[in-house]
């Protein structure tokens, strides 16, 4: 008898703790921004804009925007976080309410989409190209529901906005920086998994290196994972041993291993998606930036303004969707000037940055 009681208690405890672990984020209560509190929280930000934004926000605060992360989840310091930041900005600017569901595995995508759709959320963001199949089904099942997907194109549904980025352009810029900075003429690239999205990073980067330093060799490795940080470190050490003094990654959590290796062996790492210099200010040279937040915010704005449209929305260097950043201040003025020169040329359409192997092989470095 007592065994039964004990077993029951243990099961209750286990389940309880599991639920506690899975609980969604404690929402910052989506304050509708009256009162003194929020004003005190961010007076320095834009005091001038606030009074103007507030009245406009009031009537629209009914809108609810849902976001579903991919398996990386919030806190990936990469595109899930960046998308969430976009919704935070939308919350500030338009007074919408934001909600998030984190996917523990790929099997959660569909149920999460459906549960938001059944709650009549005003728009549902699926963050990551892995959502594509689930999104396709959900968009058919709920034709009146507005959806948005990050990093995927080609669905062509009237109710799905597809936010895509020109990663190759951002990678090109950090490639230019790496090509000029390297002393060993060897540069490393670590990809997550070899598929077209990550190849855009690889070939954009290699083209950037080639444009300024045709003699430099780029060592390419794929980790076949987005979260095996130990393997990332191992790859970085191997590339460093082979002579690479700057290594760029497009591999999510694997990059934590690269940055740790850079810290230990004193070489340069280049971050991805967001500014990653805070992880090792002295060893992160710069970061390739992909402004998922800008994309998410711009779709949010279209929903607020009532002119939401399905189809592909491209964010590239022209609309500041991609670029590079250097919060730690490791770039010299020369390097910045060189990168900016290429940035302007890309914006002006002087040349096209390759995104695939074929385009890379055909790529002729422009003389600027």
């Amino acid at each position: 008898m007592s065994k039964r009681v004990i077993s029951l208690m243990m099961v209750v405890m286990l389940v309880g703790m599991m639920l506690a672990g899975c609980a969604s984020k404690p929402e910052p209560a989506a304050e509708p921004a009256p009162a003194a509190e929020p004003a005190a929280a961010e007076p320095a930000a834009e005091p001038a804009a606030e009074p103007a934004a507030e009245p406009a926000a009031e009537p629209k605060s009914e809108l609810v925007m849902g976001m579903i992360t991919d398996t990386g989840g919030l806190g990936d310091q990469s595109f899930n976080d960046s998308a969430w930041l976009g919704l935070e900005e939308a919350e500030k600017q338009f007074g919408i309410k934001r909600q998030v569901l984190e996917s523990q595995s790929a099997d959660d995508y569909s149920p999460n989409l459906v549960s938001f759709a059944e709650e009549k959320t005003d728009i549902i963001y699926g963050v990551g190209f892995l959502f594509v199949e689930a999104m396709k089904a959900a968009a058919d099942q709920f034709p009146d529901q507005k959806f948005a997907i990050v990093d995927s194109s080609g669905l062509e549904k009237p109710n799905v906005a597809e936010i895509v980025f020109a990663e190759n352009e951002g990678s090109f810029l950090v490639g230019v920086i790496a090509g000029l900075k390297t002393e060993t003429n060897k540069i490393g690239f670590i990809g997550g998994m070899k598929f077209p999205l990550i190849e855009k990073f690889e070939y954009g980067f290699r083209a950037g290196v080639k444009a300024v330093n045709p003699d430099a060799e780029v060592i390419v490795n794929y980790a076949d994972s987005f979260d095996d940080a130990a393997k990332g470190k191992e790859i970085a050490l191997v590339q460093h041993q082979a002579g690479a003094d700057i290594i760029f990654h497009a591999a999510g959590g694997v990059g934590a291993g690269l940055i740790e290796a850079a810290k230990e062996e004193k070489f340069w790492a280049i971050g991805v998606d967001q500014d990653q210099s805070h992880m090792a200010p002295e060893n992160v040279l710069c970061s390739m930036i992909k402004r998922v937040d800008v994309g998410v915010l711009s779709v949010a704005k279209s929903v607020v303004d009532g002119n939401f449209q399905g189809g592909t929305l491209l964010f590239d260097s022209k609309n500041n969707g991609v670029g590079y950043s250097d919060k730690a201040g490791n770039l010299t003025d020369d390097l910045k000037a060189a990168a900016d020169k290429y940035l302007e040329a890309i914006k002006a359409g002087t040349f096209v940055v390759p995104a695939t192997e074929a385009e890379f092989n055909a790529f002729e470095a422009p003389s600027l």
Partner: protein, 309 residues
Amino acid sequence: MVVFIALLASALRLATPLIFSALGGVFTERSGITNIALEGMMIMGAFFAILVTEFTNMPWLGVLAAMVAGILTSMILAVLSIHLKGNQVVVGTAINLFATSITAFLLELVWKRSGQTDSVERALTTNPFHFLENIPLIGKLFSGMTPFVYLAFVAVAVSYYVLYKTPFGLRIRAVGEHPRAADTVGINVYKIRYICVGISGMMAGISGASMSLGTISLFREGMTSGKGFIALAAMIFGKWHPVGAMFASLFFGFCEALQIQASTLGFDFVPSEFLQMLPYVATIIVLSGFIGRAVAPKAVGTAYEKGHR
């Protein structure tokens, strides 16, 4: 030569967490308990190693915390599967889910964000025996060795000694093969099984610490990336023997290192997926009996009920 040493160093580092966890698996399975929960115990170890190091700035205290966290987690498995006779696979799976969630939850509680912790100031990522680096030719091999690498081999030796050279080890094996017979000669089956599950928790905890504290000096959700299950495969490949498990882990580590080095060594014509799958193919071959026979302890997976016929 340089490349070869780098390859060997890589393999050793990648194999280290596998060796610890596989040894843990050997102990539990030898005593008759299936241990699917290695992964969960590793996650707990990895997290608590960083947590304690962050606040005390003493990495070895972090390792101790990882061991304690591993043991406590393993006790859930012990109580549920030994005393309450729950299905060991189901309990193990539950522990894995539980460990993933509770660490994510605590991470957010302590660091006020999710995903990953800050990196700790003092970790155990460097070689503790600097004099070894002065050995000609192979000195370079030691420069990247963490204390965990040395510890792993010590653990193998100790495990072998305990399992095969002590009365206690004989009891463990007896309990795993034929618990009723062991019981009739006065061995406390439950006690032996509790101790073995505890040992596996300790080993898996160190294994987790070797990944967080010994490799990337921070904790990240999902950082164990299935290594607990790979260790389980290594244990089977090593035929439930500590030394076998060690060689299997080294082989798995070597395959992964080979995959990383493929382009440097100049055989990138071999698809990396092939090298990746090699360890598992080997495990299947061993299991199917082509190379020697791998026989699991007879009583593994079944709960022992005293006085029941």
